[in-house]
Symmetry: C2
Subunit: 112 residues, 2 copies
């Protein structure tokens, strides 16, 4: 099942922040982490994730640093800043609120 594009709006930044908070990563790696950690539910492409990273960095919620190439291809590793962590808390609360509302509407008296 491929997730609806619109449904993901607003959630993408949150999962990116969450994964980076657990493990600093570069863009390409993030694509794979998001897929594996969500058991294949999320399948973000690079065309989605790189712009998200730039956005988050511009807002000061993550910080990227070029990793010197020790035989590796150069890559930019992103870490969550302290402001970013506060944001992650907020976003998580937002998500919980939405999830609660959805449950109330979808799972409520509908099955009565």
């Amino acid at each position: 099942m491929k997730l609806d594009k619109e449904l993901l709006k607003g959630a993408t930044e949150t999962v990116v922040l969450a994964v980076l908070a657990q493990e600093p990563s570069h863009g390409y790696q993030l694509v794979q982490l998001l897929k594996s950690r969500s058991k294949g539910i999320f399948g973000f492409g690079e065309g989605t994730l790189y712009p998200v990273l730039y956005r988050l960095e511009e807002k000061g919620w993550i910080k990227g640093e070029w990793e010197a190439g020790n035989g590796q291809r150069r890559r930019r590793v992103y870490r969550v800043t302290s402001r970013g962590r506060r944001q992650l808390v907020k976003r998580t609360e937002q998500w919980a609120g939405l999830a609660r509302g959805m449950t109330l509407i979808l799972g409520g008296p509908a099955h009565a």
Copy 2:
């Protein structure tokens, strides 16, 4: 807590379908139903909901009928069509998928 605009994208049509499936309503009533049934979590305004209703009707998922004014102001009551009910099932599955993915990412090894 006011829910982020972007986070709601894609979810709005689903909750509208869900409420209408439970109780055919007109637009103005829907504003209140969504608010009360979600215990205040959803606060959609008319400028959001009416366009949603038009969209859903155009797609054939709901059907509106003008209710003749028996002393009442004229109102358009919307009902979910059979195609709309199938859509609701799909949307609900989509939502469940997203919720599962979010839980995996947010609630997983983060608190380890």
